[in-house]
């Protein structure tokens, strides 16, 4: 996955993500595509969670997947999750759960709870950083005020690092793929530097959701694993999601 948060010159925050899924889960030789990735596309949905006929939050989801991986709480925050691979992975969390050690949260259930009950960016950040999880993850959280944006790198037990937007230091955007922000990405899977390059080329003066869509349409951010692109804007509680395809030649990841 590739997630980006960017802040324009007026302080308005934009958030976008490519959802990539299906690596090594079967390659379709005839169609040059990942089997699972193709099967997931028809079940993608945009959901408006309502109480008393009013929107509580919106998400881009798999139909029938009750947790959340991308969502917006209008006027408060936007949130996406990128997969973090680790040997201390979710299978250990599941084994612990099965033997009765159930003090951790299932990742997507935590995100949904934060979106459903969260009352502020700070509260959401605190919950995402400090709640014990069954699996590691990257949480990309954007708020609705100047410099409210961060990448939370999570192990199962703790926040290993929180990287913030900081316009005074020139950090007006954040890019997160599937590697720890303080380490170089895998050389055969560098989507971070191309994404940074494209956001920089756009510039803070011009940046908007449409430009983030352009960045996420550029290979290798767009690749054979990309199921869809979601654009989020917090102040209006806006979400738009598109199914994607990556015609050949295209990176398998």
């Amino acid at each position: 996955c590739t997630s980006i948060i960017a802040q324009d010159k007026t302080g308005k925050l934009y958030h976008a993500r490519n959802l990539d899924f299906g690596l090594f889960l079967g390659w379709d030789v005839q169609n040059s595509s990942w089997h699972t990735t193709q099967k997931l596309k028809p079940i993608m949905v945009s959901l408006d969670f309502q109480k008393n006929n009013k929107t509580v939050f919106k998400s881009a989801n798999f139909a029938g997947y009750v947790g959340i991986i991308s969502g917006v709480k209008p006027a408060l925050f936007t949130l996406t999750m990128n997969e973090r691979f680790s040997l201390d992975g979710g299978y250990i969390g599941i084994l612990e759960w099965l033997i009765g050690k159930r003090d951790g949260w299932w990742m997507s259930f935590l995100i949904r709870t934060v979106l459903e009950n969260g009352t502020s960016y700070e509260e959401a950040k605190d919950k995402l950083a400090n709640t014990k999880l069954l699996a590691p993850a990257y949480f990309i959280l954007g708020g609705n005020k100047l410099d409210e944006g961060c990448i939370i790198t999570r192990s199962r037990s703790a926040a290993l690092n929180i990287k913030y937007l900081d316009t005074k230091k020139g950090n007006w955007f954040l890019v997160q793929t599937n590697y720890d922000p303080w380490k170089p990405p895998l050389i055969i899977d560098d989507r971070r530097n191309p994404a940074i390059n494209c956001v920089n080329q756009t510039g803070q003066e011009k940046i908007a959701l449409s430009d983030l869509y352009n960045v996420l349409s550029t290979k290798p951010m767009l690749n054979k694993l990309t199921v869809g692109t979601t654009l989020l804007e917090v102040s209006e509680g806006h979400i738009e999601s598109y199914l994607r395809d990556c015609p050949n030649p295209c990176s398998p990841w």
């Binding site: 889960l25 089997h35 699972t36 596309k41 028809p42 079940i43 949905v45 945009s46 959901l47 408006d48 969670f49 309502q50 109480k51 008393n52 139909a63 029938g64 009750v66 947790g67 997969e83 691979f85 992975g89 979710g90 299978y91 599941i94 759960w97 159930r102 299932w106 990742m107 997507s108 259930f109 699996a135 590691p136 050389i187 530097n193 191309p194 390059n197 494209c198 756009t202 449409s210 430009d211 869509y213 352009n214 349409s217 550029t218 290979k219 290798p220 767009l222 690749n223 869809g228 692109t229 999601s241 598109y242 199914l243 994607r244 395809d245 990556c246 015609p247 030649p249 295209c250 990176s251």
Partner: protein
């Protein structure tokens, strides 16, 4: 980056509004009514996506079968996953039961579908 990555390209600048060969449509929109009992919340969405969801769940099962080619093991896992649902927190457990019932698939299949992030993070 382009020199290292044969698939990389120059930054695209005119892709929005979405069109062309990389665009395959919009996500259909649904309302999830949180005032409904959890078992009823997902009924409309999953019934409309019933066939596609069954294909995804079969795909996941086929992947597991590739690694562990034993139908008996899969059947045993399915029943254990059904039990796992009862340990999941409310309202997620109830919503998952409602989904399984609405599209008439084994509860274990819907549970696996809902926890695949935790399964695949290795």
């Amino acid at each position: 980056v382009r020199a290292r990555d044969p698939f990389a390209e120059d930054c695209r600048i005119h892709e929005y509004p979405p069109a062309g060969p990389t665009y395959k449509g919009i996500f259909p929109e649904y309302v999830i009514n949180l005032d409904l009992p959890p078992r009823e919340r997902w009924v409309q969405v999953v019934r409309e996506k019933k066939n596609e969801l069954r294909i995804v769940m079969k795909t996941i099962k086929d992947i597991v079968l590739t690694f562990i080619p034993n139908e008996k093991f899969i059947a045993s896992m399915e029943s254990k996953m059904g039990w796992l649902c009862s340990t999941l927190p409310y309202p997620f457990n109830e919503e998952i039961k409602g989904i399984a019932s609405a599209i008439d698939v084994p509860l274990g299949d819907v549970v696996v579908f809902n926890i695949f992030y935790e399964i695949f993070t290795v």
